[in-house]
């Protein structure tokens, strides 16, 4: 049996999450990935913004920073810039990460700064009571879309890929083992690494207009997900309404802080 206590601030438990929330599943997957890689707790900085998922760092026994809404990525950039030997992990949500924090997300991916972003996507603002999110689907209901959403949703993985990230993966809370594996790969990869994780908010998510239980949502993740290799053999019609999970992008690109180090060497040689 895996001992999570080694990585938890047990005195800070119980956590604030609702029964059925997916955030605990992701936290455990992250801890297993950290343990698998043998990362030193002193050398991990975990940074979050505002929202339910952003409460994660408080429970984990590493260097933890709970910042302002939408801004965890630039805070993380500051840490990484001056202590590049640290493993810097950002925990964020769909609202925090790509609504209010969208500008930081794309530009940090563009510079390909070596941080790992775990973006919990539950298509809603859980902490503030179930308002519309930039990832929710057209027609979805939320407390601020009483007549159904008319917004085009973001595809977060495509956004990261187009912006220049080295590593992009998608997973769901149903696929906990795969999730551990993907977080491990993301942590290992040099450059900006994103893992988007579909997660359930049984308390506030009302996509089709009514509450969905955690079990039903996990069942939905299981049925709608297709591994990236299998998806390659499927037609666009077959892939309609499916979620492609696995490693979507894995490429070697120059990393900003490496390049900056070279710049310093070049300048100081003169």
């Amino acid at each position: 049996m895996f001992d999570y206590k080694k990585y938890l601030r047990t005195e800070k438990l119980p956590h604030i999450w609702c029964p059925g929330c997916g955030d605990g599943i992701i936290m455990k997957a992250m801890i297993r990935a950290i343990d698998k890689l043998g990362l030193k707790k002193d050398k991990i900085a975990m940074v979050s913004g505002i929202g339910c998922s952003s409460r994660t760092p408080g429970y984990i026994d590493v260097n933890t920073l709970h910042t302002t809404h939408g801004r965890p990525i630039p805070f993380a950039v500051g840490i990484k810039a001056v202590k590049p030997e640290m493993n810097v992990i950002v925990v964020t949500g769909d609202g925090d990460g790509v609504a209010i924090g969208g500008n930081h997300f794309i530009h940090t991916a563009r510079r390909n700064i070596d941080i790992t972003v775990l973006l919990y996507n539950n298509w809603t603002y859980g902490m503030t009571g179930g308002q519309a999110s930039p990832t929710m689907h057209i027609g979805d209901f939320a407390t601020t879309t009483p007549y159904g959403s008319i917004d085009q949703p973001f595809d977060i993985c495509r956004l990261a890929e187009a912006s220049g990230a080295s590593f992009v993966a998608r997973c769901t809370t149903f696929h906990a083992v795969l999730l551990t594996n993907l977080i491990e790969k993301a942590l290992r990869k040099k450059g900006f690494s994103l893992v988007e994780i579909y997660t359930q908010c049984p308390t506030y998510y009302r996509g089709a207009g009514k509450r969905v239980s955690a079990v039903e949502m996990l069942q939905g993740f299981k049925e709608s997900s297709v591994m990236v290799d299998a998806a390659k053999k499927m037609s666009p019609e077959e892939l309609k309404d499916k979620t492609i999970i696995g490693v979507l992008v894995d490429r070697d690109l120059p990393e900003y802080l490496d390049e900056y180090k070279k710049l310093i060497e070049r300048v100081r040689k003169k």
Partner: protein
């Protein structure tokens, strides 16, 4: 040995002062009239092994310097009016979480886009109250290029000592004016670095209630694993809404600065010994006030200058004492009347307070201040 002299702008001098103070991380976003500060850092920081980052926006710049400071590097950003507004939320974060950093604001005309390349002193209240909630503020205002450099070292020292962001208020005139200066040798000036914890990591309380109201600061990655949050927190740094703890910590934060006001407050007094008229002026306006005072003294008016170098915390006792001496206090500032309210509050009716205000985008001419002085006579 003759010290090397440089002909620099106030903006350049700020950057040189910061580097002398040990700053090794700058994050910023271009904005007039502060852009030359970023340009200077982009040139100079790699030479000393530091990092300059042009961020995607002002908000990210403020966030990044707080992050870098948490990781142990003295950090700074620079902006002007509109950018200063954007930075306010994260400035509040640094106040509550007690992270040292320095924020330069080259004041230009406003509100909104205002007058991008023209001077103003209209952000002095924003420097105090720009971010929401009760919070401690330190704000410094230089009046020459040399002082921009020297005072910057003091800004970092105060920031590190009191674990508080320091606002550094230039105006466009000082920012772009060139004067010959000497850049201090870091070995010859006092440099204060944050106090680090010496206790075992298990016993470390980053936000304890102590006799001094202050706590040592552990940098990330150095063995003290703790939690930093923008939520009100207990002594461990973990969120709390316990009314007693919250109130006690909010009071501690303010007291941390107020009880050390004598150490933080600095000011210049000139020609005040025999004065029955005082001019209260800061930054560029203090320079024109000096000209006006010299002229007025030629016609026999006993007038002197009180120039605050620390605007926040406000030199309240000093102003009150001066109010007991003079018959009239003239407050000259490049806005429509901001610090004048503080002066009036501190004078407690003990003297007449007269304002010389201007928000036209031009520095106040000595003549205008002279007229105000002579009106007394």
């Amino acid at each position: 040995m003759v010290k090397k002299r440089y002909l620099l702008s106030g903006n350049d001098a700020c950057a040189e002062g910061a580097i002398a103070a040990g700053a090794r991380f700058f994050a910023g976003y271009p904005i007039t009239p502060s852009s030359e500060i970023a340009e200077r850092f982009s040139l100079r920081l790699p030479q000393v092994g530091g990092i300059f980052m042009q961020m995607e926006d002002e908000i990210a710049s403020m966030a990044a310097i707080i992050g870098a400071s948490i990781a142990g590097t003295k950090s700074i950003t620079a902006t002007s009016g509109p950018g200063f507004s954007l930075k306010q939320e994260n400035i509040g974060f640094a106040c509550l979480t007690e992270i040292p950093c320095v924020v330069i604001n080259c004041m230009r005309g406003g509100p909104s886009t205002g007058l991008p390349t023209l001077p103003s002193q209209a952000d002095v209240m924003q420097a105090k109250w720009g971010t929401h909630g009760d919070h401690p503020t330190i704000a410094l205002v230089p009046c020459s290029v040399q002082e921009s450099c020297d005072l910057m070292i003091r800004a970092f020292n105060l920031s590190e000592k009191y674990r508080n962001p320091v606002m550094f208020l230039l105006d466009e005139v000082i920012a772009h004016m060139r004067e010959p200066i000497t850049i201090p040798d870091p070995d010859s000036v006092e440099i204060i670095n944050r106090e680090k914890p010496t206790c075992s990591p298990e016993k470390y309380l980053p936000y304890d209630f102590t006799e001094t109201d202050m706590n040592p600061m552990a940098n990330f990655g150095e063995g003290y694993r703790y939690h930093i949050t923008g939520l009100n927190h207990d002594q461990t740094g973990f969120p709390t809404d316990d009314p007693e703890l919250v109130e006690k910590d909010e009071e501690r934060l303010l007291r941390k600065i107020s009880r050390n006001r004598d150490d933080i407050i600095s000011y210049e007094e000139k020609w005040l010994e025999d004065a029955n008229v005082a001019v209260f002026a800061y930054g560029t306006t203090a320079r024109t006030a000096k000209d006006a005072i010299i002229e007025a003294r030629k016609s026999g008016v006993k007038v002197g200058l009180f120039r605050p170098i620390t605007l926040w915390p406000f030199p309240d006792r000093e102003v009150e004492k001066l109010a007991e001496q003079v018959d009239v206090m003239i407050v000259a500032e490049m806005n429509l009347g901001q610090m004048v309210f503080e002066v009036e509050r501190c004078c407690r009716g003990k003297t007449k307070v007269r304002g010389v205000f201007q928000a036209s985008g031009e520095p106040i001419a000595p003549r205008k201040i002279l007229d105000a002085i002579l009106e007394k006579k």
